[in-house]
């Protein structure tokens, strides 16, 4: 996949940074609807392992995805200290289970470095670029890539 093809015009946009395991990630703040604490979810039968279940978000049924598991890392065992980022991905709303929300960053396009060539396709699939802030490395996630049309639209 060619990264030049992706639209990187972010000119001074805001990002929400959060922690999953020992890594930091961020998403565009415009796709985040709200951030809420963990509530027990209802498990869904026949769902992939990173699909934790569904919760009631003010009357709507909201699927909760374990971001750690989805990114191919160790599955999370959710506790009351975990946080759900409610994000809009295309026409659907999903909840992302993360360890903690750490920061709100204001960045320009120049701050975003291209993703280094790594062997795994998974990382390259969702990573839109990386940011170096205060000697930390924060990976910018593209939610649309994380939840491809085929998976969310299958019916």
């Amino acid at each position: 996949m060619s990264y030049t093809a992706k639209n990187l015009t972010l000119g001074g946009s805001e990002l929400i940074a959060f922690r999953v395991g020992d890594q930091e990630f961020c998403v565009n703040i415009m796709s985040v609807r709200e951030i809420r604490g963990w509530t027990p979810a209802t498990a869904m039968p026949h769902s992939p392992s990173h699909m934790i279940g569904v919760i009631n978000l003010r009357g709507a049924v909201l699927p909760i995805v374990d971001l750690s598991g989805r990114l191919g890392m160790k599955p999370t065992d959710p506790t009351a200290r975990h946080v759900i980022i409610v994000a809009q991905v295309r026409r659907k709303v999903v909840g992302l289970l993360v360890d903690a929300v750490s920061d709100i960053l204001t960045v320009t396009d120049d701050d975003i470095q291209p993703t280094p060539e790594v062997s795994s396709d998974l990382e390259r699939q969702f990573a839109r670029g990386i940011l170096a802030i205060d000697k930390r490395m924060i990976c910018l996630i593209e939610l649309e890539a994380l939840f491809p049309e085929t998976e969310s639209e299958a019916a």
């Binding site: 209802t42 869904m44 039968p45 769902s47 569904v54 009631n56 659907k92 299958a154 019916a155």
Partner: protein, 765 residues
């Protein structure tokens, strides 16, 4: 409101009129000779024509006009509405519907068909009897509406007494043909008496009189005797009437056609003048003729009048403000003149308020049009209210140890109120199934024509009400089934005659409420299902193994399998093998079940059972492997506590439970949904005996029953995806999401159709 919105309203009304038209014609077809039915049919066509004329939809007007002319012959008893005549008329109603749709959506219609029908209708109006080959090849000249109605063969005959008790005078051209003088044009005396509602329906006497003046030399006398004092005057009412003498060679029809669109809102007499003196005192309507200023009929004159009225009535601003049409203004001017005499502004105010009251009374109709989105929002909100109320009750019960506090009583009342609100809101969405049933009658007619069969559709219980979403989704599967019934079910007339049956086949469509669901039955008196043929076909298509031992019922239900068609020849109508499995799927998607019973030689009955609403569901809340699930109550036949002795192992993986000496397969819900790895011990749980579509019973094993509850259905697909075995989700009193079990899918999975397979199929599609 822009033109498009008005047009949209017109088309909505057209739909209603078309429905009215069709139901009226069908009534007549069944032998109803009530003049009111004929009138209703006539009115429907007439209103469509009127509205279409206003929007310049010429095709529609032209066709409606011919249709109307023929209907008028029926109305005046000149044409006997026989079956053959009504057949043409029903077809015409279909074409009228097509034309309306084409006018709205910009499509095109089958021109040759409408032309052929125009010919047939004109032939009927001319008193020719319909023949099957009446369709002429030469295109019929499009009759211009209004322009030359005299050329239409059927002259309007004496109308029946209408509701105002007004009796028109019979008239024949022959009577005065001899009296006609070569030099003088024939003169007519016209009495034009608007009814009270003429103006409120958008007609304007000024315009009508102006149109009339174009026919020839005329003199008008206005009678203002009926004009009340200002305190009683309704500014929007009609008080004047006119006596007109006109000399024209255009004939009576042309005069009548001027008043065509106002016909229902005025009393009109047209008769040849007995002598040439205009304004002869009419015995029926004694009056002192008031010469009427014809200049008001010119546009300029009409627009000047309001100014004059305003200057006259400057102290009765309220009255003048109400005067909107030019003709009304003339009335108002007269009224204002009286006010000036009385110098009574208070009377004017009283009149204005009385008029406002009248308007309010007239405006409060029996129905209102509401945007469906608004109703849906209300329903969603009520759904939230129900959940919230349940949550509140639950937390009060948890925190309140005494259980007798006033809070509890208040909560109980709240619960009742929410239930009532919910029922009322649901009732808003409930609609009779009539429109769908009516559409079916058209389909039956068309297919019967195409297949050369003679079919009679009988509908029953068409006023049965059901949620609008159910109705909307019902049309498609029902169409499929009707097509199948007519195409495959009913035999050809020759075969029927050979079998000793009435050559006319009967399809009966019935709707009724039964235990909180709507039951729709489609019965035909055809040949029934040829079980041997179905069986062969299923084996041939690899749907069942060749040595399968199936019951009659199981064979009948094979027709619901995908890719199944027994039609010998593939026809345009049905028989591509996409019919019945699609029907079954759409019915299931609605939370319904479908069943077939068939008796060879006597016909088949399809029975559909559907929920009344798609928004709420009565469910049994159960626990399975620590998860809370809701099982639709309608699926459950009974619940039982299995005893160890009743459980029998069957093969390696199956277990049966014996219930009153019959054996029923046991299905572990937790296992099917993958909630647990091993099968649970049935003795520790509860068995729910469910009936799946196809009639087979299964015992679903759950761990425990929590209770019964009405739950609000929430879509899983909105934010997630379809999950096999799960119909939808809901939110329980504790605020958590619970899944609603898709009983049929779970039962299907237990039969060996893997849920996973269905899932991968769904993902691929």
């Amino acid at each position: 409101m822009d033109m498009n919105e008005i047009k949209e309203i017109f088309f909505q009304e057209c739909e209603e009129q078309l429905a009215e038209l069709e139901s009226g014609l069908l009534k007549m077809n069944d032998g109803d000779r009530d003049p009111e039915t004929v009138n209703a049919v006539f009115r429907a066509v007439h209103s469509i024509k009127g509205g279409a004329g206003a929007f310049g939809l010429d095709d529609l007007v032209a066709f409606a006009h011919v249709f109307e002319t023929t209907l008028d012959c029926v109305r005046s008893n000149k044409l006997e509405p026989t079956q053959d005549v009504l057949k043409v008329m029903l077809k015409s109603a279909d074409v009228l519907a097509d034309l309306t749709n084409a006018a709205r959506d910009g499509g095109s219609v089958d021109e040759s068909r409408s032309r052929g029908l125009v010919k047939e209708l004109e032939a009927l109006a001319n008193g020719e009897l319909p023949s099957p080959s009446a369709v002429s090849e030469a295109p019929a000249p499009k009759p211009a509406p209004k322009a030359a109605p005299a050329s239409v063969a059927a002259a309007p005959a004496p109308k029946p007494t209408d509701d105002s008790g007004f009796q028109p005078i019979p008239f024949s051209f022959d009577d005065f043909g001899g009296e006609e003088k070569p030099v003088d044009l024939p003169a007519y005396e016209i009495t034009f008496k608007p009814r009270f509602e003429l103006y409120s329906k958008g007609n304007d006497a000024t315009l009508l009189l102006r149109d009339l003046s174009r026919l020839g030399e005329m003199s008008i006398y206005c009678n203002a005797d009926a004009l009340p004092g200002l305190e009683e005057l309704d500014p929007e009412g009609a008080y004047f009437f006119w006596n007109i003498t006109i000399k024209t060679d255009k004939g009576e029809d042309a005069i009548r056609s001027v008043f065509e669109f106002a016909e229902w809102d005025c009393d009109l007499t047209v008769k040849p003048a007995e002598d040439s003196k205009p304004g002869e005192t009419n015995e029926e309507l004694p009056m002192i003729p008031v010469p009427f200023d014809l200049s008001i009929l010119d546009d300029g004159g009409a627009s000047e009048v309001p100014a004059a009225a305003e200057t006259k009535a400057d102290d009765t601003a309220a009255a003048v403000a109400a005067a909107e049409t030019a003709t009304n203004v003339t009335q108002m001017a007269a009224a204002a003149a009286r006010v000036e005499k009385k110098e009574s502004a208070a009377a004017a105010a009283a009149a204005a308020s009385a008029a406002a009251q009248n308007n309010a009374a007239a405006g409060a109709g029996q129905t209102i049009r509401v945007d469906l989105d608004r109703v849906d929002r209300l329903i969603n909100l009520v759904g939230e209210l129900v959940i919230n109320q349940a949550m509140l009750s639950q937390s009060v019960i948890e925190n309140d140890t005494t259980g007798t506090s006033s809070i509890n009583m208040g909560l109980e009342e709240l619960q009742q109120l929410t239930r009532e609100i919910q029922d009322s809101v649901m009732a808003i969405r409930a609609q009779p199934v009539k429109p769908v049933f009516q559409r079916m009658s058209r389909i039956v007619r068309e297919i019967a024509d195409m297949t050369g069969k003679s079919i009679r559709l009988i509908t029953e219980g068409e006023n049965t009400e059901v949620d609008k979403t159910v109705i909307d989704k019902l049309a498609e599967p029902l169409t499929h089934m009707i097509r199948n019934a007519v195409d495959h079910g009913i035999e050809t007339p020759e075969k029927r005659a050979a079998a000793g049956k009435n050559t006319e086949g009967t399809v009966r469509l019935t709707a009724k409420h039964r235990s909180g669901r709507i039951l729709i039955e489609l019965a035909d008196d055809g040949a029934g299902i040829n079980r041997e043929k179905v069986r062969q076909k299923a084996i041939q298509n690899d749907l069942i193994p060749a040595d399968a031992n199936l019951s009659d019922e199981e064979i009948d239900n094979l027709i619901f399998l995908p890719g199944f068609s027994t039609a010998d020849k593939i026809s345009d109508i049905s028989g591509r093998g996409v019919g019945m499995d699609v029907v079954k799927r759409s019915i299931q998607a609605l939370g319904g079940r479908i069943n077939i019973t068939s008796r060879p030689g006597q016909g088949s009955v399809f029975t559909m059972s559907l929920p009344l609403t798609l928004a709420v569901l009565d469910g049994m809340v159960v626990t399975v492997a620590g998860q809370t699930l809701v099982v639709p109550l309608t699926a459950i036949v009974e619940t039982l506590q299995p005893e160890a002795a009743a459980i029998h192992s069957f093969g390696a993986n199956h277990r049966l439970i014996s219930i009153r000496n019959s054996f029923c397969p046991l299905v572990d819900v937790g296992r099917i949904l993958n909630f647990r790895a091993t099968q649970a011990n049935p003795v520790e749980g509860v068995a729910l005996l469910v009936e799946s579509e196809g009639g087979g019973q299964r015992a679903l094993m759950v761990d425990a029953i929590q209770g019964q509850r009405q739950v609000v259905i929430k879509s899983l697909e909105a934010n997630y995806t379809h999950v096999p075995g799960i119909a939808a989700a809901t939110i329980l009193g504790d605020g958590r999401v619970a899944l609603i079990l898709d009983v049929d899918a779970v039962v299907g999975a237990s039969r060996g159709q893997s849920l996973k397979a269905e899932m991968s199929l769904a993902a691929a599609g």
